[in-house]
Structure formats: C-alpha cells, structure tokens
C-alpha cells in the first residue's frame, strides 16, 4: 500500500474536545503523528485516553475540533482504510465464531476478495503465532487470547496508523514480545497507544500526559 500522502502527518488532531452531557472528557487536544512515530497517551482511568482513540477511529464525533487520518476526516471510509484499531477487544468480536472466522470476516471488509483475505489472515496468524487461539471459538478464549486476536485484526489491511487501547494489558511475556516485534517489523507505520503501563511507554518515542 502506498504512503498516505506526501509530507502531511498520518494523524492530525486539532483542538479536540469531547463531552458527554455536561462532562468534558477531552479538552482542546492538539496532536500530530508522523509516519513511523510511536506515541503513548498516558494517564489514569477516566483521563480520556480511550475517548481520544474512539475519536480517531471515528466511533465518536468530536464535540469540537477535528481529527484527520491520512488527510481524511476521521470516520470516513478513506480514513478507516488508513488505520487499524484494537479497542475493547473482549466486546468487539462475534464470540460464537472462531478467531479465524472473525479475522477472515474483518479481512474481507478491507480486502474484498475472499482468497486475498484468507492469505492475509494466514500470514498474520503465522507471524503472531496464534494458530491455537484462532482455531477456537472466541467464547472459550481468555481476555489475553482475545487481545491477541484483536491485535491481529488491527494489522489487517497493512494500515498506516495503529490505534491500540492498552494493547499489552492482559498479555503474557511471550505475547507482549510478539506484539512489539510485529510493530518493529512495520517501522513506517505510526502507532498511538493508550496506556498507563511504564513498559508500554518505554516502547514509544513520545508520550502525551493526560489528567483526569
């Protein structure tokens, strides 16, 4: 896939404010992320990390300000093609299907052809060493296993920006290693993660501190 656009940042957040009713969760946030950069959004529970990520994926529309991904308005089809997200993994899968069936479904939404989607899922499953996990129905998987499938889903379609919500929260050491290794193999892809774990922050070149 070609880079998103010339010199423009892959992610541009300007004056982002998001409220729920009277409660302002995120206030006037500016953030620019370039290709290959890794940014950690750090802060305690309730500081708005996940809300920011949801605004980036387009699941939420900002109350004020704008979010652009690869130059496109967040939530548009073009912007969604630029990013791979892994948010609230344990609630965003079809639990009565296997991991493989889930990944194939989401791959097809990005890829179109079933054969292409199948090849991509096979390659990812092999890379992340999750063959045993994806063979199971997801309602029999642990949170950590679901998290690994969620990460695999974020990699589908070779996006230019990964948006990951507490990506290592429930992972064992081996799975954490595979996750960071997979990101290392994609040096051109920008990463924005929400975390409160020092280990995750260390893997990022830059961090943004949020306050509750």
């Amino acid at each position: 896939m070609a880079p998103a656009a010339g010199d423009q940042p892959i992610l541009s957040v300007r004056g982002l404010t998001r409220s729920f009713g009277d409660q302002v969760i995120v206030r006037d946030l500016d953030l620019q992320v370039n290709a290959g950069e890794r940014v950690a959004l750090r802060g305690p529970n309730g500081s708005g990390k996940t809300t920011i990520l949801r605004c980036i994926t387009g699941a939420l529309i900002p109350t004020a300000g704008e979010v652009r991904v690869g130059g496109h308005e967040a939530g548009s089809q073009a912007a969604s093609r630029e990013l791979g997200a892994s948010l609230s993994q344990d609630r965003s899968f079809y639990l009565r299907l296997t991991g493989h069936e889930n990944l194939l479904f989401f791959a097809q939404l990005r890829h179109g052809s079933r054969a292409g989607a199948l090849a991509q899922v096979r390659a990812l499953v092999e890379e992340l060493e999750i063959e045993d996990i994806v063979a199971k129905r997801l309602d029999s998987c642990s949170t950590g296993m679901l998290q690994q499938v969620g990460f695999a889903r974020a990699l589908l379609g070779a996006p230019h920006l990964f948006v990951l919500d507490e990506p290592t929260r429930s992972l064992d050491q081996g799975a954490k290693g595979r996750l960071w290794a997979a990101l290392e193999r994609r040096p051109e892809t920008a990463v924005v993660i929400a975390t409160h774990l020092p280990d995750d922050v260390e893997h990022c070149g830059r961090h943004v501190d949020l306050r509750s």
């Binding site: 729920f20 949801r54 994926t57 387009g58 699941a59 939420l60 529309i61 939530g75 089809q77 073009a78 969604s80 093609r81 990013l83 997200a85 948010l87 609230s88 609630r91 965003s92 899968f93 079809y94 639990l95 009565r96 299907l97 069936e101 479904f105 989401f106 097809q108 939404l109 990005r110 129905r137 889903r153 379609g157």
Partner: protein
C-alpha cells in the same frame, strides 16, 4: 457478502434455535391445516385466488415469515451488534453505511426464503396443496420483491434502534398489525369497512395477494409486484438515508456501543 456470510455462520451456531424456528413454522402449518379441515364446507368468506382456507393460511404463514425476518429481524440485529460491542468494530472498518444496511438484510432474506420453500413443500407433500398452476417465475419475483420492500421497514427500524436504543418491539407490533389487517390469516373482506380500507393500503396486502396469485393461479401477480416495486424504489433509499443519519447521531452521542 461478507456480512451475510458472517450472519449465517453465527445463525448456524445456534442450532437449537434454528431448529425451533423451523418447527414453530411447521406447527403453524399443521394447526392451520386442521382448522381448515374443521370448517371445510362451511360458508366461507372470499378467499381470493386460494383454493381452500388451508392454502390461504399457508401463504399467510410463509409470507409473514419473510416479512417479519426482513423487517423486525434487521432491527433486532443492529441492537444485538450495539449490545455486544461489535457495531463499533464494524464502524472502524472501511465500509459504507449503505453496505452495512444492505448487508444486514442478507441473512433474513436467505433464511426466510429457505423456510418459505420448506413450508410450501410441506403443504404440497403432506397436505395435498395443489401447485399445478404455480408460476414459479412469479413465485421467485414475488419473494424477492416482498423481501426488498420489507427490508425498507427493517432498515428504518434499525435506524430508530440506533438512535434511541429501542424500537424493535414497537416495530414488531406494527408489523404484526399490518399483516393481520392485510390478509395474512383471514381475508380483508371480513374486516369492518374502515379497517378493510386501511388494510388495502398496506404494502403487505400486495405481498399476500401477489404471492397467492403466483402460487395458485399462475397469473395476476404482476400488478401486485409492480406496487411492491414502487414501494421498494421509494422506501429503500429513504430507509438507507435514515440509517445513515442515525449512524451519524449514534457517533455524535456516543451510542454505537451500549453495554
């Protein structure tokens, strides 16, 4: 196609419910057969082109399955996606709202078509339903048009569910009332005049009449098909537009996921 394939996979995973759905329909067919036998020879109302009350009611059962699946079923599906959190994951994918709306209708169409075929075959094989005059092309055209027309109601219901997190129950009641007064299980001619007038205006009336014409007369379904086509051409784009607006509202209000 991917959305439909996924829905079919999930549906097949509920084997007990799937079998139960089918058997409830079969039970309906049997019950109406014996009701028909009970009143055979009694003075009857105008059954239109159906040769017996059983034939009349069988079409009522079959078409109601399609109507309910493609209308209420679609609204319930979007609510399920909202509750389980998968809707938010779907929205993060590069698909159009139109594709999502149309994709939601795939499973109801596939399953209800299969069930209609089973009930009609059961009527013919077990209860002597005469299909010698059936216009099979008309049968297929009517089935597709009924599904398409009712999908508009389903997509509109999904839009309401997205916006207010409720609505599928009200839609279910409305659809039940529509089918009842438009000739599912008794002719509209037995209704009070004012109710008959309303029943004659319902799109479901054209569904029942056209399907019976195709199945029992082999002709005369074309006008009903045209009415359903006109309804579909008007209502489906409107419903998709509503769904798109509702999706925007849900993103603005933060209601894509509700768990």
């Amino acid at each position: 196609m991917a959305l439909t394939r996924r829905d079919i996979q999930v549906y097949l995973s509920y084997r007990f419910m799937m079998t139960l759905d089918l058997w409830i329909g079969v039970l309906d067919v049997i019950v109406y057969y014996f009701i028909s036998e009970t009143f055979e020879g009694a003075a009857s109302a105008d059954l239109g082109n159906a040769p017996s009350y059983f034939a009349f009611a069988l079409v009522g059962i079959a078409v109601t399955v399609v109507i309910e699946a493609t209308s209420v079923g679609v609204g319930s599906k979007i609510r399920e996606e909202q509750l389980t959190g998968t809707l938010e994951a779907l929205v993060a994918q590069p698909i159009k709202t139109t594709e999502m709306a149309v994709g939601l209708c795939g499973l109801p169409f596939a399953i209800s078509t299969l069930r209609v075929a089973i009930y009609i075959l059961l009527g013919a094989i077990a209860f002597g339903l005469d299909l010698s005059n059936t216009d099979w092309a008309g049968f297929v055209v009517m089935l597709v048009l009924i599904s398409t027309a009712m999908s508009a109601i389903g997509i509109a219901t999904a839009a309401v569910v997205l916006a207010i997190q409720r609505g599928q129950t009200v839609a279910g009641l409305a659809i039940f009332a529509m089918t009842l007064i438009s000739g599912a299980f008794f002719p509209v001619s037995v209704l009070p005049d004012w109710l008959e007038a309303i029943g004659n205006l319902m799109p479901t009336k054209f569904a029942f009449d056209g399907f019976r014409s195709a199945l029992f007369e082999g002709s005369g379904w074309e006008d009903d098909a045209l009415m359903l086509l006109a309804f579909s051409v008007t209502a489906v784009p409107l419903a998709i537009w509503l769904f798109d607006r509702a999706m925007l509202l849900a993103r603005r209000w933060g209601r894509l996921a509700q768990y």
